[in-house]
């Protein structure tokens, strides 16, 4: 099944262009202009991977990342930023982003590769969780098996 992406960026044109690019790549795509709008979408839609800008008015990318880690631990988050500083990148890493890609995406494949890697890691988790769920259903899991 195609992964569902949520693109979060306060620059409307960048949002639109990234949406087109990933639709072209075969992903389902939604978009939000800041962290708050993104959380509104997460509340009603299933999202697999978020691509979020770091610096945005309202709720910024790092706040969104922290909130997503708390509320939706299964969602993978990739940060994108034009403010290329060590502090920004470290802050994204410390709060559990999969990676941080710098604008202006001189090589968009880097972002595509990051999305594919996140999708793969998500698939792995989902596969393992499904296996555990099946085992539980069959009475084979952990304590039940003793």
């Amino acid at each position: 099944m195609n992964k569902h992406l949520l693109i979060v960026d306060d620059e409307a044109d960048i949002r639109k262009n990234l949406c087109s690019y990933f639709k072209l790549k075969g992903f389902e795509v939604d978009a939000a202009e800041n962290g708050v709008a993104a959380l509104d979408i997460l509340a009603v839609k299933h999202i697999d991977i978020i691509i979020s800008d770091v610096k945005m008015p309202g709720m910024d990318g790092v706040e969104l990342l922290r909130e997503v880690r708390k509320q939706y631990p299964m969602i993978r988050v990739i940060m994108i930023t034009g403010y290329v500083t060590l502090e920004n990148a470290l802050s994204c890493m410390r709060h559990g982003a999969d990676t941080c890609i710098f604008k202006p995406f001189q090589d968009l494949n880097e972002l595509t590769d990051a999305v594919n890697a996140s999708a793969k890691s998500l698939d792995m988790w989902q596969k393992k969780l499904r296996e555990l769920l099946d085992m539980k259903r069959d009475g084979l899991e952990g304590d039940n098996g003793q």
């Binding site: 620059e11 044109d13 960048i14 262009n17 990234l18 087109s20 690019y21 072209l24 790549k25 034009g82 403010y83 290329v84 500083t85 060590l86 502090e87 470290l90 604008k103 202006p104 995406f105 001189q106 090589d107 968009l108």
Partner: protein, 393 residues
């Protein structure tokens, strides 16, 4: 000897004073009243004015103030038969230096004029200092305003860079999206050629041109980003994370920043040591120093027409050394020490704000290093920076 104006109605004492002063070698002029004296002073200033002063005669308080106004810097000595409170207070009000009572003797006149000469000398020196100081303050004020303007441009630049980066992002995504759909477009075009028998050569040309355009867009973006990243790093205030700094990388970024300024008439030769250890420094700060030195060399070379800059990095036992040599006119020998002073510049037409080297010295010394300048025996200037190497953790 002093230039003295004697104002007196013309009784005997006037001639006596003139004789005494002339015999002592002073240049003496005379006139009959304060009005005439004021006119003479306005036309040609004097060091000392000796005037008769009386409440009943023509040179009264009002006229004395005319003399005062006509020559603010002259030292005034009053000679009077009256010693009334009015005479004394008017004298004080007009900043009179001395009061000689009539009848006077030769010694009193000589002594008073000698003292007045000393006072005049000190006043002139003070005035010269005041004027110098005023000029310095005027210069500093102009330079501060200029520096402040540059600083506000720096702040605006950060916003401009961000905006450029956003637009570059759009171009970048657009170009790469076209690249992505190019094979699809190619298949479509081939299908059309087969179906309609269109001009194959023309189609091949179109596809080729499309690829070229995309590759031009990409290289344009790369070049723009190298410039904006260099500026971004340059204007970024510096962080708290001490990750060490690659001196060769700093040099390459500084050269990138100064490329526009250097390419016209300066040949740049680099001899960068290999596998140099990192230095304990903030990359932006080191870059700032290198940019300052490169721009100085470019300016120096410009005055010669064209020339070259050589940059060499070496690693000593504990220090990393950067040597920057140019073949410009060098530093005037008597200015080698002064170039590090804040607001000192040898550049003309408002080109330099006189802060570059002073700030650079502050930065390098703040990093525990040193920066020195000397002239090369072959002509041109040599700047040497030494920064402590980062100790392995």
């Amino acid at each position: 000897m002093a230039k003295i104006l004697v104002i007196n109605k013309g009784n005997g004492s006037e001639s006596e004073i003139c004789e005494i002063l002339s015999s002592e070698g002073h240049s003496v002029e005379r006139c009959k009243d304060c009005i005439e004296g004021a006119g003479m002073l306005e036309a040609d200033a004097c060091d000392i004015v000796i005037t008769d002063f009386s409440t009943t005669e023509s040179c009264d308080a009002r006229e004395l103030s005319k003399v005062r106004n006509a020559s603010e810097n002259a030292v005034i000595i009053v000679v009077s038969m009256e010693a009334t409170q009015e005479i004394i207070s008017e004298s004080l009000r007009n900043n009179v230096f001395d009061y000689i009572a009539k009848p006077f003797n030769r010694a009193a006149i000589s002594r008073s004029v000698a003292n007045a000469e000393q006072v005049k000398k000190i006043r002139d020196e003070a005035l010269a200092y005041k004027n110098d100081l005023k000029n310095v303050i005027d210069d500093l004020t102009k330079q501060l305003i200029h520096a402040q303007r540059l600083s506000s441009i720096g702040t605006m630049l950060m916003e401009v860079l961000h905006e450029i980066k956003n637009q570059m992002t759009l171009i970048s995504i657009g170009g790469q999206t076209i690249e992505e759909i190019l094979p699809e477009f190619e298949n479509f075009l081939r299908g059309r050629i087969e179906a309609t028998g269109s001009n194959k050569e023309r189609c091949k040309f179109v596809l080729n041109e499309l690829s070229n355009c995309i590759s031009n867009i990409k290289s344009g973006i790369n070049r723009t980003m190298r410039i904006t990243n260099s500026f971004g790093n340059y204007t970024f205030r510096g962080g708290e994370e001490d990750i060490g700094c690659d001196i060769n990388e700093c040099i390459m970024q500084a050269l990138e920043l100064c490329k526009g300024r250097l390419k016209k008439n300066v040949r740049v030769l680099t001899k960068l040591g290999e596998e140099l250890p990192a230095v304990r420094a903030d990359q932006q700060l080191v870059q700032q120093v290198l940019v300052n030195l490169l721009l100085n060399s470019a300016d120096a070379i410009e005055s010669n027409g064209k020339g070259k800059v050589e940059i060499e990095t070496l690693c000593g036992k504990e220090n990393m050394c950067v040597e920057l040599r140019d073949d410009g006119p060098g530093i005037p020998e008597d200015k080698v020490e002064r170039i590090w002073d804040a607001f000192y510049t040898t550049k003309h037409n408002g080109k330099g704000n006189g802060l570059g080297l002073s700030v650079s010295k502050g930065i390098i010394e703040g990093l525990g290093g040193s920066i020195t300048a000397k002239n090369s025996s072959e002509g041109g200037a040599i700047f040497t920076i030494e920064i402590p190497a980062k100790k392995e953790m």
